[in-house]
Symmetry: C2
Subunit: 128 residues, 2 copies
Amino acid sequence: MEILRSTKSHPTADWIYDQARKVLPSISLGTVYRNLAILKEDGQIMELSYGSTYSRYDGNPENHYHFVCLKCGRVEDVDIPVRGELEREVEKTGVGDVYYHRLEFYGLCAHCRSSRTDKPGGAGEDSR
Amino acid sequence: MEILRSTKSHPTADWIYDQARKVLPSISLGTVYRNLAILKEDGQIMELSYGSTYSRYDGNPENHYHFVCLKCGRVEDVDIPVRGELEREVEKTGVGDVYYHRLEFYGLCAHCRSSRTDKPGGAGEDSR
DNA sequence: CTTAAAATCAATAATAGTTATCAATCTAGT
DNA sequence: ACTAGATTGATAACTATTATTGATTTTAAG
């Protein structure tokens, strides 16, 4: 939990595992997953399942939006207000009861936009 | 592609595979995945990766929103207008260039809401 | 302090969706 | 018919995640 709160990035379970091992060298990946599941169950963190592959985790449990860079895979928080009114609008269509929503923007992050060259080591330090 | 267009549900690769076998009994799951990947690459279909497990596919390539039932897993289209202005609003924050966005609502679908009982066979016919 | 039950953990096996491989088959152009 | 290239079915490989297990640690009681 401290690890997840200490970063504003949105790390994968594997990255958290690496960080945790710096403090508890003998911790196992299973323990990381187990505790992430508990924290998620508890509503203290969010799981962002992104692509059909791995998930990223977010230490901020209140709803907010994300920007995903299509090039480097970085996930950043988006600083615009949450549109709660959309949930009521959806409920009016009769599809069901809306509990929450998730909004993600995809594009090219500022970092990748400026360094358009594919020079290695430039972008993608947090992708896999 | 015909199979995907013929349903308004948002099937999994496995379901598409089952349907395809009714027409081409010898088709393999690999071929389904391969062609789904090609169609996606081509922009003719959308992949909805939902949860960290399986993906669902959507034969409608134009952006629209989805409602996911937390109980039965059903995915339905949401009939509200697309908020293109959000993308411009996000770009103003300087996070990067926004190409598209994805918005999903989570809750209890009308079907599950009415039949609250957990009677088997009631809901979940399209879940796994 | 001792002991027994409960909880936690590390290590590892198992699961499942997806992707890659590859030989065989089909297709088009000549 | 002949060849080159693309497509397919079958199957193996891969990867993130989950479950299992056996051992160690913690807790609580006497």
